[in-house]
Subunit: 255 residues, 2 copies
């Protein structure tokens, strides 16, 4: 008999819970924002202990599919698609990610996202982008607020690209970088320049000029990276990535 593919990382009960939820999601019986039944009740329905149910829920929470609110209930995540915020940080700790690599990944993905958005963006996206750009200009002296609109601007582009998978990936990366960006932008004196760059990106997207959109986005991100680099080098805060770390090729051949 051909043995079934088993992801040995999940035990039977956990798998049972995950499949149950997945089935409900695929059937459309469960949608973002919905609440699932109380643990005691759902455990009884599934015929498993509450502890096992909680293991399965924890698994789904860790993957960014569900969210638990103590004293309130357990819900299907309803924000933009992304992997769990801390996942990249943990993987960084394990595999020695470095910051320039995050910027590189961001440059590649967001560049393509901008190009796709130029090709596929609808009017509603153009409107939303224009609004964010306008906001950036109007409050160009409040770094905190500025960053907020910056994040939304990029998120709309991801949305406009029509590829939610790439959107989820970049959302994960940006989440991991958010704290650092927040500190950087705080002392930024170039917010107006930033706003102008965003406007250029927007114009290219609205003009459906994919190549230009990519170019502007890449330039924008390079400037952002340089600004980051210019930051005073403080000792590594807890949870940051390593400064260096060569990896061996060995693992690549694992069967």
């Amino acid at each position: 008999m051909p043995s079934e593919k088993r992801d040995s990382s999940e035990s039977d009960r956990t798998r049972q819970v995950v499949n149950h939820i997945r089935a409900l999601l695929e059937k459309g019986a469960l949608r973002p924002g919905d609440r699932i039944p109380p643990e005691r009740e759902l455990a009884r329905e599934l015929g498993i202990s509450r502890a096992s149910l909680r293991t399965g829920i924890g698994y789904l929470v860790a993957m960014g599919v569900m969210k638990v609110r103590h004293g309130v209930g357990t819900f299907i995540e309803d924000g933009p698609a992304e992997f769990n915020k801390s996942s990249l940080g943990l993987m960084g700790a394990l595999h020695g990610f470095q910051f320039w690599q995050m910027f590189e990944a961001r440059l590649i993905i967001e560049g393509s996202l901008a190009a796709l958005a130029a090709e596929r963006g609808k009017d509603e996206h153009h409107v939303a982008l224009a609004e964010q750009v306008a906001e950036m200009f109007s409050i160009a002296n409040n770094p905190e607020d500025f960053l907020k609109h910056d994040v939304i601007f990029h998120r709309i582009i991801a949305q406009a690209s029509g590829n939610p998978i790439l959107a989820a990936l970049i959302e994960t990366i940006n989440s991991a970088m958010y704290e650092k960006r927040r500190k950087t932008v705080k002392r930024a004196t170039y917010l107006r320049h930033m706003a102008e760059m965003h406007r250029e990106i927007f114009r290219a997207i609205r003009a459906r000029d994919a190549a230009e959109a990519r170019k502007q986005m890449e330039e924008h991100l390079r400037v952002a990276e340089d600004a980051q680099k210019a930051e005073p080098r403080r000792p590594l805060p807890p949870g940051s990535f390593q400064q260096d770390g060569e990896k061996k090729l060995a693992a690549a051949h694992s069967d």
Copy 2:
């Protein structure tokens, strides 16, 4: 006082466990493949119940940082960096990912990966790639084995790119597609053509021709996608993605 950023998805005990492991990873006291102490023992050390410890471990397992082997022990994951295999599938069920979107993401990321590999690849990578290509030619009539070398080939390129973050992302995507590819390749009669395409990619990388490497890779993936599409359309197997699904813009504006 500025309130601390709290990821409300993790309770205190879970956080405690995750931070403990993270700290050990960052300190280098824990490396890929290492085993952590037995649950009963570690729980006592941390001063928490075994149940809580297990919650934390489950969290780390779900994020692909650890792996549990029943009856043996709990280990730090030692394979290539990637998010949990089922994460993309779950997110797909939740956000309606489609297959063409996976191919598109793959095209973009692997194209860039090939270009980076051309720029940064070392001799050892060239050697390893050549070996895989040779294997592909030699066993071009055994689809199962062929796919194995195909996977390794792409993994080496990711490694050679020098960006483990992008490598982890593509590894996650490829994992999610593996089962489907396995079925496709089974009836493939064009394996020799595939091998030739891989050889072209390899040559471009060895010649350090980034543009050509990207071009060849993209062409290769387009052919692979067409082969996939030519597959007989069977009813959606459990765990697959939806056929269609427009998303609203609303979520993008969430604060």
